[in-house]
Each structure stands twice: as C-alpha cells, then as structure tokens.
C-alpha cells in the first residue's frame, strides 16, 4: 500500500469540490437558454440531481460502479459505503468516492438540456434516480473499474468522454424522442431568455472542468498538469472552431456560439486530456468546435426536439473526443496510455475506442428507452399542454424567476397561517 500523500489528497479533494460546482454551472448554462417561464424548472432539475444522486451514490451507486463484481457490474461490496479503508493508497479511498460522486451528479444533469421546457418533475425525478444506478454506474464500471470489461481491453477514457458525455448525450436524445416536441417547435420563438447566464454558466463549467479533468489523474503530478493544460487548450481552440463556422454559415459570430464552442471543446478534450500532447489538444479543440457547431443543424432536419443541443455538444463532442484519443494519444504524455495512430500506434487503438463508445451508446440507449417507456405509460413524461403554456416554474414549482414589476398579486395568503387557527378559535 502506498503511503498517504497529503499533496495528492489535497488536489483530489479540491477537484471534487470543483466538479461539484460544475452542476450549478450547467444549471445556468442551460437555464439561460430556456424561456423565462422555465428557468427555475431547469435550475431545479439540476439541483435535484445534486440532492438525489448524492444519496443514490452513497448507498448503492458507488458500489455498482467500483465494486469488484464481474466485468459488467460492480456488485454490492461497497453497499452503503462500507469497507472503504482497505483500499486506501496515496489518497484515502473516501476521497476517490467523493470525487467520483460529483461525476455521478453531473452526468444525469447533462440530460436536462434535451428535455427542457416540458418534462414532468415527478417523472424526471424517478428517471434520473433509476438511470444513475442502471446506466451510469454500470458504464462507469465497464470503463473505469479495474475489473470492467472495457477497462481490461484498454479503452482510453481519461475523465469521462465515453462514460459521462457520450453516455448522457445518447440518453438525452432517446429521452427527447419519447418525450416529444415542445409545443410550437420548431417554428415558434424559443430564443434564450438570458444569454449572459449562458456565458456565466460556461465560465463556471470551465473552471470546474479543471477539477474534472486534472483531478482524474488522482494525484498532484505531471499527468494532472498536462491534463489541465490540455483542457485549457482544447476549450479555447473549440471556441475558435465554433465561431468560425458561425461566421461562415450565419454571417455573425455569436456569444452563444462562443460559449457552446467552449463546452464542446471541454467535452471533446475530456477523454483525451491525460493522453495527448498540447498540439493534439489544439487539433481536437478546433475539430470539436467546428463539427459540433455543424451538428446543431441536424436536429431540425431529423425532427428531434433536443431543446438545448445536448446531442450536438455532448454526444457528438464525447464520441469525437473518444475516437480522436485513438489518433492523438502518445506515450510521451502518459506512460500508462498508448501511442495513437498518429504516433505509430496500430489502428486497433482506434478500434478499441470505437468499441467502448459503441457499447456505451447501445447500452445507454436501450436502458434509457425502457425507462422512458415505463414512465410514459405510468406517470406520463410530459406536462399538460396548459402547464407547458404557463411555464414549468409556475405550473410545477409555484414560483416565478423574475418579478420586474409590482403590478399584480393580491396580498398575502398562507396555508400555514390558515392551518394554525383552530376551529374553535374561529367560532
């Protein structure tokens, strides 16, 4: 057993906190893109993930993901987070549990972008709870656990391009298909209600992503440093790739495009950041920005209302990053990795990446579809037309985000106050 390293431990703990901060960042990234009447519904779904997935992960999710088990399922060795200390190394195992918990929290939260503006909160709550245990944890096991079948085959996924982004991306598309379109899509006015929120959320995501990627080195070391550097480069060049496409296609480079490009770059560099060189990151970022920007026009053509482009950004970005890792990986960066095709490695490196992505997409799509079907024919997935028209904030949560005028409202009534008055006192 390695001796505990306070430096490594400190970095992983800080990284865990940074990754947690990504979920509220994501909430604002998405929240700004929806209409004003739905912004609280979006923030709520993301905060709900912080609440529920923390619980699920503590009790069962971590065990299913990182228990010994077999190649496909970790089992219940760590059920209720028991027997953790036996696995202590350079960092206490609980630090790893906490770090991984934040990944489990944000992954289902990514899905909320495709189902925005129309999903029942009750169905969403049940969906993400089950999805986390039945989809996220098994796939994390396949790719990251030492007994996972894809891990043993040598799939490279440094910080979750496959496990997090491709996985959530395909689930988002499948759920959007079962949920159906928003009323009036695509001809209606679905402009974002607050683009500065989107950029604020992007900034938070970006900072958090340093924990996501560089923290995945699980130590304060050279690999962490290069992962951080590559993360910065990939995100930065993807901005350029995205706005270049916008300038050519639409005539103007937009701030929403710059934010979207940054996120697409962060997604694509995630599986690669600990394996590629900084020059590889430039290529991956530019390609991710350009290709994800082009991918945004697909949903309109195929008629899937992926409201906030989770498919174009996370699915396309995640798959692209995973495949490009097979080309740009180099042993110069990380001795624990491989040489990709561009560094003299065999095509089988790309083949293994494709297999890992394909298996993830297939499994995630099928189980997501089963969950969606089960909910559709029981609780129902979509809110009523009237509630959709009113907006989720008021219809589902009894709140509104903005009160820009004092007009309206008819004074204070409180169920609590009324309930406190005994019948005899009223008489």
């Amino acid at each position: 057993m390695d001796e505990l390293s306070s430096g490594d431990t400190a970095w992983v703990l800080v990284s865990a906190a940074l990754v947690l901060f990504m979920t509220p960042g994501l909430a604002f990234f998405y929240g700004g893109m929806v209409r004003a009447k739905n912004v609280l519904g979006m923030l709520m779904q993301n905060f709900f993930c912080m609440g529920m997935i923390t619980l699920v992960w503590s009790v069962v999710g971590f065990s299913v993901a990182f228990g010994e088990g077999n190649g496909f399922w970790g089992g219940f060795d760590f059920f209720a987070l028991q027997d953790l200390t036996a696995s202590d190394g350079a960092i206490p195992y609980v630090a790893f549990v906490a770090f991984q918990m934040m990944f489990a929290v944000i992954t289902p939260a990514l899905i909320t972008g495709s189902t925005a503006d129309r999903m029942k909160f009750s169905s969403f709550a049940i969906f993400v709870t089950l999805w986390s245990v039945l989809v996220y944890s098994p796939i994390a096991h396949w790719v990251w656990a030492s007994s996972g079948w894809l891990f043993k085959r040598g799939a490279l996924d440094f910080a979750g391009g496959t496990v997090v982004h491709a996985n959530a991306g395909i689930a988002a598309i499948v759920l959007a298909i079962f949920l159906g379109k928003r009323r009036g899509w695509p001809t209606g006015d679905f402009r974002p209600h607050n683009v500065p929120f989107v950029l604020l959320g992007t900034g938070i995501l970006w900072v958090g992503w340093f924990g996501f990627n560089a923290g995945s080195a699980l130590g304060a070391n050279k690999v962490a440093a290069i992962a951080l550097l590559n993360t910065q480069i990939g995100a930065a060049t993807a901005i350029l790739g995205w706005i270049a496409i916008e300038r050519l296609r639409d005539g103007k480079a937009t701030t929403l495009g710059a934010a979207s490009g940054a996120v697409a770059g962060l997604v694509a560099i995630t599986p690669a950041c600990g394996f590629v060189s900084p020059m590889g990151s430039i290529a991956i970022g530019l390609l991710a920005g350009a290709i994800c920007a082009l991918a945004t026009s697909v949903k309109g053509k195929v008629g899937i209302d992926d409201s906030l482009d989770v498919g174009a950004v996370h699915l396309v970005g995640g798959v692209l990053g995973a495949l490009l890792t097979g080309f740009f990986a180099t042993l110069d960066t990380n001795e624990a990795g491989k040489d990709g095709v561009f560094y003299g490695g065999p095509w089988s490196v790309v083949g293994e990446q494709a297999l890992a992505v394909g298996a993830t997409l297939g499994y995630s799509a099928v189980v997501t579809a089963l969950l969606a079907l089960a909910l559709k024919y029981t609780l129902g997935l979509k809110v009523s037309d009237e509630d959709e028209e009113i907006g989720l904030d008021e219809a589902l949560h009894g709140e509104t985000a903005y009160r820009l005028t004092s007009i309206g409202g008819s004074g204070f009534t409180s169920a609590v106050t009324a309930a406190k008055v005994p019948e005899e006192a009223k008489a």
Binding site: D189, R191, R249, D250, G251, T254, L256, S297, D309
Partner: protein, 112 residues
C-alpha cells in the same frame, strides 16, 4: 386641452425631456413600448436558428397641454428626437375632454 403622444427612439428620451423643460412643460409620462413602422425589425441568430424579431423597442411619451401650447410642444419633440435616420418615430395629437388633479380635485387647465 390636447394629449400629445410621441413614440421615439429610446436613447432620445433625455434630449426630449430637456427640450420640454426648455419650453416650460413640467410633466410627462413615459412608457417602454414595442412596435414597428416602415423599417420593421431585426434578425437574431442562436446556434444557427434565425429568429425574425419584428418589434423594435421604443419609448412612448404622453403630455397633456393647453391648446395654444400644442404647436410649440410638437415642434420641440420633433426637433429634439430627430436623428434623420429611419425609425425616429411619430407624434400625434388628440383632444382631451377633462383633466383632474387627483391630489386637489382641480379640473381643466388648473390641473395641468
């Protein structure tokens, strides 16, 4: 008495207010409004999806004055709100039957 209504470009509000103070008009009501004239609106692009926005933000100014002050008022608004470019707005005048000051109950010209 007449109600003079002007719909103007938002950034001209301060100029108009100064001009009205200059001719002794000491009360006005403004509101944020949207609409379009001949210039129509603009186009916004979000991730490649284009939205045509027909309604342009404007400021509506309303002033009630005595009949004899109308011409001077309309001229003051027109000159102070003018940029010479499309979208400068409109001014129109309608008769007012009665005006009452809520605080005192004064009526007619006394209430202005």
């Amino acid at each position: 008495m007449k109600l003079v209504t002007a719909v103007i470009k938002p950034f001209k509000v301060d100029d108009v207010k100064t001009a009205l103070e200059g001719i002794g008009v000491h009360g006005l009501t403004i509101s944020e409004v949207q609409g379009y004239g001949r210039q129509k609106g603009h186009t916004e692009v979000y991730r490649g999806a284009e939205y045509k926005v027909d309604f342009v933000p404007k400021i509506k100014i309303e002033v009630v004055v005595d009949d004899e002050a109308v011409d001077e008022l309309v001229t003051a608004i027109t000159t102070s709100a003018q940029t010479g470019k499309i979208g400068d707005g409109k001014v129109w005048v309608v008769p007012v039957d009665a005006v009452v000051r809520v605080r005192t109950g004064e009526r007619g010209s006394d209430a202005l």
